[in-house]
Symmetry: C2
DNA sequence: CTTGAACTTCGATAGTTATCTAATTAGATA
DNA sequence: TATCTAATTAGATAACTATCGAAGTTCAAG
């Protein structure tokens, strides 16, 4: 979630790319056009376009051997809107939306409503194991599957919600949501804990 | 104008700074707080905060020897809004706003209205020397005082408005708006051309 | 005036990346 | 098939910068 935001900033944090976006906003350009306009070599332009394309900001259309590149205004706006939304709101939005699905999520939402403040911080850690489970499942939103997290990062992520990252981290392990080895952590498949796990 | 936008993107294009902004959005933090939360050393935090402060995104308040840092939500929003505004609009905005001041600018605005398209490109180069002056003065918005520009960059900047950068570049020199030496260019003081220069 | 704590500044290092040239792919044309 | 042009890929280099430890600064308190 915050990953794509970072990628977006990185993509725009270069004078050449910023100017390319500006030119493409006015209409289609070939690689040569851009190279001439920016006084750069073609491979360099290709490099920049590849980055912008990887974010879906730029699309290409082939015509013979030349490729016409254009800005995807919609994609740009979609990403930009995420920037505008202030950080505080972003934290608040992590609050689960009210119940909607069927059963389990429904119950989780109710619990979270009581324990999560408007700014996305955890008011307290539920003493009841079952309720604690709901909170922990919610915390797992911050962890992507297939990525490995050093302990420091796990703590940092948790601390955006509650100061006692040590306890919560241990709980995440205990509930089989996170696994750990050599001070590195990673997310376990939801099948491990989403349904069962209350054994 | 585009300078601060680039600076903003650069500032946000770092995972640590992005997280710092997120934390500060929730409230004041000391350097130590942040160092602990991000699992980084204090000098590193200072470094990041300096960057954010240089953009006015973060403010500091001293209390004894500790410094409490906070996010300037207004500044963040101000900068973010500029991001949201699509690139095409940004080009269009380079069109001079309608007359408002007194005399000279007033006249320039009228000329530009005829020669500058909605997307910020130059429809044609005025044949009349006086009108050409208005267009050239407008082009000078893209050049900052005290900076030196290689010829390639001068061309690139001009080409965002018109394909014939060679002619326009020569005109800028002829009108004493730009000076040139060893293929490097720089802006001359406006006193050279804003008032007089029609000699 | 010394000690201690919270920061900042300095200098060095390592990782990243924008840019270039050279080589390669792929489409069009003869 | 051979050739020309547009673009991408590969490899190398140079510039930038996030991070650290060490040294310097500032403030408060004995």
């Amino acid at each position: 979630m915050t990953e794509t935001l970072l990628a977006f900033f990185k993509a725009m944090a270069d004078a050449s790319r910023l100017r390319i976006v500006g030119l493409l906003a006015q209409g289609e350009r070939s690689v040569q056009d851009l190279a001439k306009a920016l006084a750069l070599k073609e491979p360099t332009i290709s490099h920049h376009l590849a980055i912008l394309k990887s974010l879906g900001l730029v699309t290409a259309r082939a015509e013979g051997t030349t490729r016409w590149h254009a800005l995807d205004h919609e994609a740009l706006e979609r990403l930009s809107k995420r920037v505008l939304q202030p950080a505080s709101e972003r934290a608040a939005r992590q609050k689960p939306r009210a119940a909607q699905d069927g059963n389990a999520e429904d119950w989780d939402a109710k619990v979270l409503k009581n324990f999560v403040a408007a700014d996305g911080t955890l008011k307290s850690i539920p003493a009841a194991r079952k309720k604690r489970g709901a909170v922990l499942r919610w915390l797992m939103h911050d962890f992507a599957a297939g990525r490995r997290y050093p302990e420091a990062e796990v703590n940092a992520l948790i601390q955006t919600h509650h100061w006692d990252s040590a306890t919560l981290r241990r709980e995440l392990i205990g509930h089989r949501m996170l696994a750990r080895k050599d001070r590195m952590y990673w997310r376990l498949p939801e099948t491990e804990w989403k349904a069962g796990g209350e054994a």
